[in-house]
């Protein structure tokens, strides 16, 4: 515990700027993954334990797309769309078979899918790590602001994640389709009785949730090494985010992801050996005080 270092950092504008940007970098990527997880749970009532596999799929698809096209934009789109498409197939042929079943059955199915995805990646991309590298368009010196530094790529990552989050929120809260999806989460029988194809909607929501994880993978690919099984660590943190923010709440996921980001960024200065302890501690407190999470609602179905 080094509280002196923490106070000293908080009184220096350069340190505050750098650490706040660090918090946003960590938080935004987590938000992308956790919002997908939260959306799927909120509408379908399924805890997608295989969500990390879609993050991995997005990263690898982006890697191969970038290698063959040298276009980061194409890689970014391919990562999101590819993971979304895999998500739709997964929903139709696998996860829809266990809707309403025991949670252990859902867990087993998802675990099997994780193992299959990992082995497929090993077969296609090999067991060794892969590195996409920073696209030339972002190979710039870090931006300086009030004495602190923010790399250009991370500025793009933060803006892209926030924009996608805002579009998702607007789509759910302010559009007719969003209204139908919210109704689907509360009373699927009634939505079906109104002549709306609920099967298609379930697949589409699952696809969007998976695409969000794929986008996170594509955003991470230029700075992180890709390995089979890479989805596991981000999945664990995403679960912490969804538990704190509230299962099913996009805004809750954003708040909780930022909370985790700030804890890690400033924890590295003040209490580097107890960052994980604080994160899990926050989760435990939320579970005790408000089990549905900060902005969560009760399970719909």
């Amino acid at each position: 515990m080094n509280l002196d270092a923490l106070y000293s950092c908080l009184s220096s504008s350069s340190c505050v700027v750098t650490q706040v940007s660090t918090a946003l970098i960590i938080g935004m990527l987590l938000f992308m993954v956790a919002s997908g997880l939260s959306l799927i749970f909120g509408v379908l009532g399924v805890i997608n334990f295989a969500h990390g596999a879609f993050y991995m799929a997005g990263a690898y698809i982006a890697f191969f797309a970038y290698r063959s096209s040298s276009s980061f934009l194409l890689a970014f789109l391919a990562g999101g769309l590819g993971a979304g498409l895999i998500g739709v197939i997964f929903e139709r042929f696998v996860i829809s078979k266990v809707y309403g079943k025991d949670i252990l059955m859902q867990l087993l199915v998802c675990y099997a899918i994780i193992l299959i995805f990992d082995d497929l990646v090993k077969m296609i991309a090999g067991p060794e790590y892969r590195m996409m590298g920073m696209p030339d368009v972002f190979a710039l010196p870090p931006l300086e602001f009030a004495g602190g530094f923010i790399p250009a790529y991370y500025v793009f990552m933060i803006v892209a994640s926030l924009s996608i989050g805002a579009v998702l929120w607007l789509a759910i809260e302010k559009t007719r389709l969003g209204k139908i999806i919210r109704a689907l989460a509360i009373n699927p029988q009634m939505v079906g009785a109104l002549g709306i194809n609920t099967t298609l909607l379930y697949a589409a929501v699952f696809g969007v949730g998976s695409a969000l994880a794929g986008i996170a993978g594509a955003l991470a690919a230029p700075t992180r090494t890709l390995t089979p099984g890479m989805g596991l660590s981000i999945l664990i943190e995403s679960f912490i985010v969804t538990v704190i923010g509230g299962m099913g709440s996009i805004v809750g996921a954003l708040i909780a992801a930022l909370l985790i980001g700030f804890t890690r960024a400033f924890g590295a200065i003040g209490f580097p050996l107890f960052v994980d302890g604080i994160m899990f501690g926050m989760m435990a407190v939320v579970l005790i005080v408000k089990p549905s999470g900060l902005l969560g609602r009760e399970m719909a179905r």
Binding site: M131, G133, P142, T223, R224, S233, P272
Partner: protein, 420 residues
């Protein structure tokens, strides 16, 4: 109605067959192996997971060495066969597959291509079964330095932590003195190897240059995907130099993420694990002038033999040799020479007697790498440090540390540890 049977009943045939299996399959596995023409080399290693490159490059090197001798006709007509098994990096699995390789596959010799935790598990199995074994990847000093673990048939053909710490500390002290680098920080993975390796490096760097002061030590998690908070912390602490025991894909991610902040523009960087060619070539924008220990390099030594070894390896592998590749290739040469000296006899004690104190000439090993008789570990292997450049051969300006200096410090270290 009575049923007549012929002279030999079906039940009797089955009993006989079972007895036969029991005798040949369980009772005499080693005899069956020893009498066969082919000499079987068992290779437990890590072929999947985040450090799979350790196992895959190990396997390529072992196969290359034994294919070369097989193509040359073998030894006294006996050829070699490599049987590998994936331990998935789990010590319990490493012990299990090693037993299987010996008892079920009839392997005569074990090349243990496990990381440190798995190597200690394999060590117990081979000590128990008395079979010849060469550990080829574990750098943990105690594996051979601790006399309690010494076994007459077990050797280590891998670099050793204490040797690297002395060589690295000596090199770092020299650079620190030249460039007046007093303020140091460390950033190493938070597990036994990361902490031990860092402590030993800093200990000897400070011993050789007492003005070195460590202002902060960061311990990111092993296999952490993101190092942003460690990097920005380093930017706040503003050390003049950083030592890191990160390795593999973690190190690649750390360098790429540090590049975004231009961390290495004003900070000298020292790494024990950066010198592996697959790591150097995986980093898209490798900064110039980072200091790294030798892991393998096509241009060091700059000889036709070394280039030929590298070319032969890259014909069978998708990348240039790694540190584990040269160590395993060296282990295979120790085994081949020992089998040659025993005239094809694969008795573990006979082979161990030959390997103990043996020196083999290798394309990258100067005057020859010696298997030290007293503690069954190699010495006189390359321990140089160099600086990175952004194109092949990736590392240049290697500076060697005299082995006499390393051995002198090691003697003192053994006394301090109670090993001598």
């Amino acid at each position: 109605m009575t049923k007549t049977t012929s002279g030999v009943s079906r039940r009797r045939v089955l009993k006989g067959a079972l007895a036969g299996f029991a005798v040949s399959g369980i009772g005499m596995p080693h005899i069956a192996g020893a009498q066969a023409k082919v000499i079987k080399i068992g290779l437990p290693t890590i072929l999947s997971g985040r450090v799979a490159i350790l196992g895959t490059s190990t396997r390529f090197a072992v196969q290359l060495a034994f294919n070369q001798i097989n193509e040359a006709g073998g030894i006294n007509g006996r050829k070699f066969e490599v049987v590998d098994r994936d331990s998935k990096g789990r010590p319990d699995e490493a012990a299990k597959v090693t037993r299987d390789l010996i008892n079920n596959d009839g392997c005569d010799i074990i090349i243990d291509g496990e990381a440190s935790s798995g190597s200690f598990a394999v060590h117990e199995v081979v000590r128990d079964l008395g079979i010849l074994c060469l550990h080829t990847c574990s750098e943990t000093s105690s594996l051979t330095a601790d006399p309690k673990l010494l076994s007459k048939n077990v050797f280590r053909c891998a670099r050793q932590g204490i040797h690297d710490a002395v060589a690295g500390g000596s090199y770092a002290a020299k650079i620190a003195k030249e460039k007046d680098l007093k303020k140091w920080a460390t950033c190493s993975p938070d597990y036994a190897y990361g902490r031990d390796n860092t402590a030993e490096f800093i200990q000897y760097a400070k011993e050789f240059e007492p003005s070195i002061e460590v202002v902060d030590q960061l311990w990111p998690k092993l296999f952490a995907p993101d190092y942003t908070e460690s990097i920005t912390k380093l930017m706040q602490v503003k050390p003049q130099a950083v030592y890191s025991a990160l390795w593999g894909g973690d190190l690649v991610a750390f360098i790429e993420q540090s590049n975004l902040y231009r961390l290495f523009q004003n900070t000298a960087y020292f790494s024990g694990g950066l010198g592996d060619p697959p790591i150097l070539s995986a980093i898209k924008n490798l900064p110039q002038g980072l200091n790294t220990a030798y892991r393998y390099n096509r241009g060091f030594p700059n000889t036709a033999e070394n280039a030929a070894f590298c070319d032969a390896y890259t014909k069978v592998a998708p990348h240039e040799p790694t540190n584990w590749a040269w160590q395993n290739y060296a282990a295979a040469q120790f085994i081949i020479e020992a089998v040659r000296r025993t005239g094809g006899n694969t008795d573990s004690s006979a082979l161990a007697k030959e390997i103990s104190g043996m020196t083999v000439k290798l394309p990258y090993g100067g005057a020859g790498i010696t298997m030290r008789d007293s503690d069954h570990t190699i010495i006189n292997y390359p321990v140089a440090w160099g600086k990175t450049v952004n194109k092949s051969p990736w590392v240049v300006d290697y500076v060697d540390t005299e082995w006499s200096k390393i051995l002198e410090v090691e003697k003192q270290w053994k006394k301090e540890k109670g090993y001598a």
